[in-house]
């Protein structure tokens, strides 16, 4: 029993000792999760304070995800005019910072949806950065597991077919100056280095989309920085205000110097 205890409480993360709590009851696991969030938020935001909020950012995620490799997460920002950028953090993923989205002048930052991988039952945090530089956070607990090691396809070649191809779906009823929603799909395996090729039993080398930049005409809608927590074939639903001439232009890049550009014409406007 002495040996059993020995292994359990070695501080997990270098640089943040003294915060580990031996978890046996729910109070200590809450402490443990809070300590985890503290470590992550210090790593991402330094000593900037994150205020809890009920109004500036909300998270909508399935309490129990059907597919941990394709968990839909929606960030809702009701006071959208105040929002400069949003962060999505999946606490117990090995790379917790799943995405940082910075909105540009053509954005309608009221909501944003992403599909992510979830490795184990975890807290998911959304943090909004307002235009004055303050941070506000919300949290939900998501029951999903195994999303990070789930194989992408039966072979790597198959998974990489058509890499960089994009599709865009616009909502109906576009009108000049009125916000509209669009869903962008980028074909990319987003290999995270943890998926094993079931035939060779080697790990597929990591290769994932790390930047997405979307503009309307010359005006930026958003910049997305991401890494291995985005699902295979990343999908992002966003809103923007089409003023002046389009088209919607997307530039995507990945960690192996892949770069793809595509433009999408808006559907005809209706009055």
């Amino acid at each position: 029993m002495k040996i059993l205890a020995l292994v359990l409480c070695v501080p997990l993360i270098g640089g943040a000792p003294g915060q580990k709590v031996l978890a046996a009851d729910s109070a200590s696991i809450d402490d443990e999760r809070a300590a985890r969030w503290k470590t992550i938020s210090e790593s991402v935001f330094g000593d900037r304070k994150i205020e809890p909020t009920e109004t500036l950012i909300k998270l909508d995620a399935p309490q129990r995800a059907q597919d941990a490799a394709l968990t839909p997460v929606t960030l809702i920002m009701p006071e959208k005019d105040k929002i400069k950028s949003v962060y999505l953090v999946i606490d117990d993923n090995p790379s917790p910072l799943a995405a940082h989205v910075t909105f540009g002048p053509a954005a309608d930052p009221g909501s944003l949806q992403l599909r992510v991988r979830v490795d184990t039952y975890t807290n998911v945090h959304a943090v909004a950065e307002t235009r004055d530089g303050s941070l506000f956070g919300a949290v939900v607990f998501v029951k999903a597991s195994g999303g990070c090691s789930a194989p992408v396809a039966s072979t790597d070649e198959e998974a990489m077919k058509g890499m960089g191809e994009m599709r865009m779906r616009f909502t109906e009823g576009a009108a000049p100056g009125k916000p509209m929603q669009a869903t962008l799909m980028v074909r990319h395996p987003n290999f995270n280095g943890m998926q094993m090729n079931q035939l060779t039993r080697n790990y597929t080398p990591p290769r994932y989309v790390d930047k997405l930049s979307v503009s309307y005409g010359d005006s930026k809608i958003f910049d997305l920085e991401a890494d291995i927590s985005l699902s295979t074939n990343p999908v992002i639903t966003f809103s923007f205000v089409p003023e002046g001439k389009g088209p919607v232009k997307v530039v995507a890049s990945d960690t192996m110097n892949g770069r793809w550009e595509q433009s999408f014409d808006m559907p005809a406007t209706t009055n």
């Binding site: 046996a24 910072l97 184990t120 039952y121």
Partner: protein
Amino acid sequence: MRALIETAATAAIILGTALVPAVAHAGSTADIPEPQGLWIGAMHGPTPKMLSGAVVVDLAAIEALMAGKPLLLDVGPAVRKPENFPTDRPWLPIHRSIPNAIWMPGAGAAPLDVGREELFYRRIEELTHGDKAKPIVVFCRPECWGGWNAGKRLVTKGYTNVRWFPAGTDGWQDKRETAEVEPDTEWFAEPTR
């Protein structure tokens, strides 16, 4: 004394749940036959319903065993840091398991280097204080041959009280709280193959 605990635990299992190997276990839909020796195919995939020489257990059965302080052996894989992972983003891997579990990532891989396999047996001998009848609960994630293989290794080595928990860490965290665990220091966190 230990025999008493064992008897109590066994009784609790019988009262509680799935001692009977014939009971179909969640997680495997197909009827996968037990391999003769260790499974050397892909580690992720449906596993047999049985492990000859060991008892297949579910959550209730493990909880019934807890009073007897079994060795909880997690052989789930460790995550791998992508080689080109940017230095300015946080990399903070965490492994959640049954509280007080000993985590030996990849100990169910097969084939395993001779030296690693010997180390595995030596660690188990240390952790059980040389008691071949010590209850050992071996697990991984669901659909993980590593858990099955690790159990098979123990049975083959003469351990007489091996329990295999195929639902693994997911089966546990679905109903119970987990704890962060570090890899066993002797075994160290080598990524699994």
